[in-house]
Amino acid sequence: MTDTGFDVAGLKASHRPVSEFRYEKRPVVAGYNDRTLYVNVGDGRIAEKPVSADTRAKFTGGKGYGLKLLWDAVTPATKWNDPENEVNIATGPVGGNTNYPGSGKSIVVSISPTTGIPIDCNVGGYFGPFLKFSGFDALELQGRAERDVIVYIDGDEGVVKIFEAPGEAVDSHVLAEQMVAMFARDENDRQHISSVSAGSGAENSLIGCLNFSFYDKRRKVARLKQAGRGGIGTVFRDKKIKAVVVKYSSLDVTSNNPADLAKLQETGLKLHREIIELDDQQCRMREIGTAHLTEIMNEYDLLPTCNYKFGSSPDAEGINSHAFSAIVTHGLPDGCWYGCTMACAKAADGFELATGPYKGHKVTVDGPEYETVAGCGANIGVFDPRVVLELNFYCDTYGIDTISFGTSTAFIMECWENGILDSDRTGGLEITWGNGPAALELLHRIGRGEGFGLVAGLGVRRMKAYFAEHYGADPKFLQDIGCECKGLEYSQYVSKESLAQQGGYSMALKGPQHDEAWLIFMDMVNNRIPTFEDKAEALYYFPMFRTWFGLQGLCKLPWNDIEPADNASTDEPAKVPEHVDNYLAIYKAVTGNDLDREGLIRQSARVYNFQKVFCIRMGKGRRIDDLPPYRMVGPVTVEEYESRADRYDKQLREQVGVDPSGMDTPAKIAALRAYREDRYEKLQDAVYKRKGWTREGIPTIETLQDLGIDYPEVVEVVKPLL
């Protein structure tokens, strides 16, 4: 799409200025500005805030900064749609570096509409780095406008503006192009613009996502990366923000002003070479991105199929990486930020849409990433790659999280199968397994905020309550099959055979997203962490290690989706020690500060425990909030048990100590369930202990003191619970 499609002058003429703020431009010093930008779209206030030395020392950057600002902005009573809730965006000190792969992430935090506690998303695109180079380590968006506004940060001129923008599109694939056309001088200037936007679906549901744009010079398209989880797009549209746009034109390796450029380059070059040499024999990220995982997950019985009932399907071939490889464009430098030679941000070009408001349009569809293939494919019984791509496209442009949409739709389909839903209740939609057209129409109704779309857009937790209340469905059954925890829908891995992953999911602070820990292979296949203590150690180390990416503005993928040729001969290959050392090296090269492995974990542990206390402050984050639905732990139904009867019978015999012969399936299900639920509780005990929390999951004062985050207002939250 080109700018000729838009009447830019007409759009501009309809703008009405709200407020304007000029600031002094200063160069970044060793990865930091030490100031943040505050924007209130409700009353038009714009201000800069200094970052205190203490905040910098304790919160490091990125997610740490976002959470600290959010904490200061809200009270325990704040609801997601109160004006004081914020959407905060920050990259970290390493973020924006252009020569170490995966260095361009933004971290977004807000109080989530579906969970009521802080949510955080790590997202690509150019926004976070451009924001930093424009002068700010973080952006706070607060308030609620009366009419739709755009916030424009001109990092070249040192000006921030809020203006009313009635004419621009809401859906992101159009809006992102409009922003580029509006704010770029010429074709070459387009790559200097990045916008954050949501979409019409984010207005009408609680599972809205944000789209972060990055201009693709070869495709000549403003492409989108999603901050998907937890409904931040919904908060954004509730504030009546159409877009936040940043412009920064002088990007080069000195923009981040690293302390030691030569060392940074040496480390980056080493990883570039490793990726270019080894990726095609390892994960094929350069060819097909994370979608390479689909056939692997299917092979290991981990690909969620029909609402996580099963872990594989004979039809999965239809949506494996080769099916998508045949559709996406190859040979382009598909990094979501400069210098990412992993280049996993694949896209299909000239894709003709078959349904919806943009039917017949030929569009570039980003992805699909593995999560989308699984969630909008196997998990809803769809094995047609074109349906997956179309769902992916519309989810993105409507500003809907593909993971929550997939898991919610899977839940709906199982409710249909069990007679809880019928076409009267869905407004005529036959939402049955594998019905791609019905899934698409459901998505369009969420986009339009129409009929059953409004119910589906509430997410699994609220649907459970709704179906029990209005349709008399059995709440226990709904609880068992509705794959959410804390109000967030599960991401797309079957965790039944891995106790550690059950914990990795449901003890994750924000809700069941796998970015804290992915331990299925280590636990279930390698058999490496057999005891509760082993599992607890893994559930300590990996969440802490992985939290660090979010503090720095880094992507997790170049850590372990590529490994050095000699990684196997290191003492702890699963940690990829050479890459950990690379991170310590680039951290030092950027900031000038020494950091060792222990120091890295401490940086994370501070923010992690702060976030934990924040969850408690907002009313969740206790032991009972960490309980998974049984579907994620073991077989709920007879069909499910019998599909893997040999496995479960064997476990009854060998692990539970029960002889299954002569037992009927419901009795076997009950025996296995009692055993597994007990083990989960034991795991909770071990993990909380390892993390320095009480049996109820509350960080102790000593833990907070040890980490130096025993601020009075933090201690006040936990004290009554100890």
Binding site: L293, E295, Y300, H514, R528, N567, A574
Partner: protein, 65 residues
């Protein structure tokens, strides 16, 4: 009988690492294989034979979004 990742697995004459991976359907690309503690380089999976009674460790490095 050999042991693969802690579980018994039938052994046969001339069994190579590659054969074990096939039988176990270990298709994941990022593996670290050890026979009785000895590392087997990826390039040698086809030639390296596994003796009866061996303790084989096929470590899958995690991956995923």
């Amino acid at each position: 009988m050999i042991t693969v990742n802690g579980s018994p697995h039938p052994w046969h004459d001339g069994m190579t690492v590659r054969k074990i991976l096939e039988e176990k359907r270990y298709t994941f690309p990022l593996l670290v294989v050890r026979i009785d503690g000895r590392l087997v380089p990826r390039s040698d999976y086809g030639e390296t034979t596994v003796p009866d009674g061996a303790d084989v460790d096929v470590m899958h490095l995690m991956s995923g979004g």
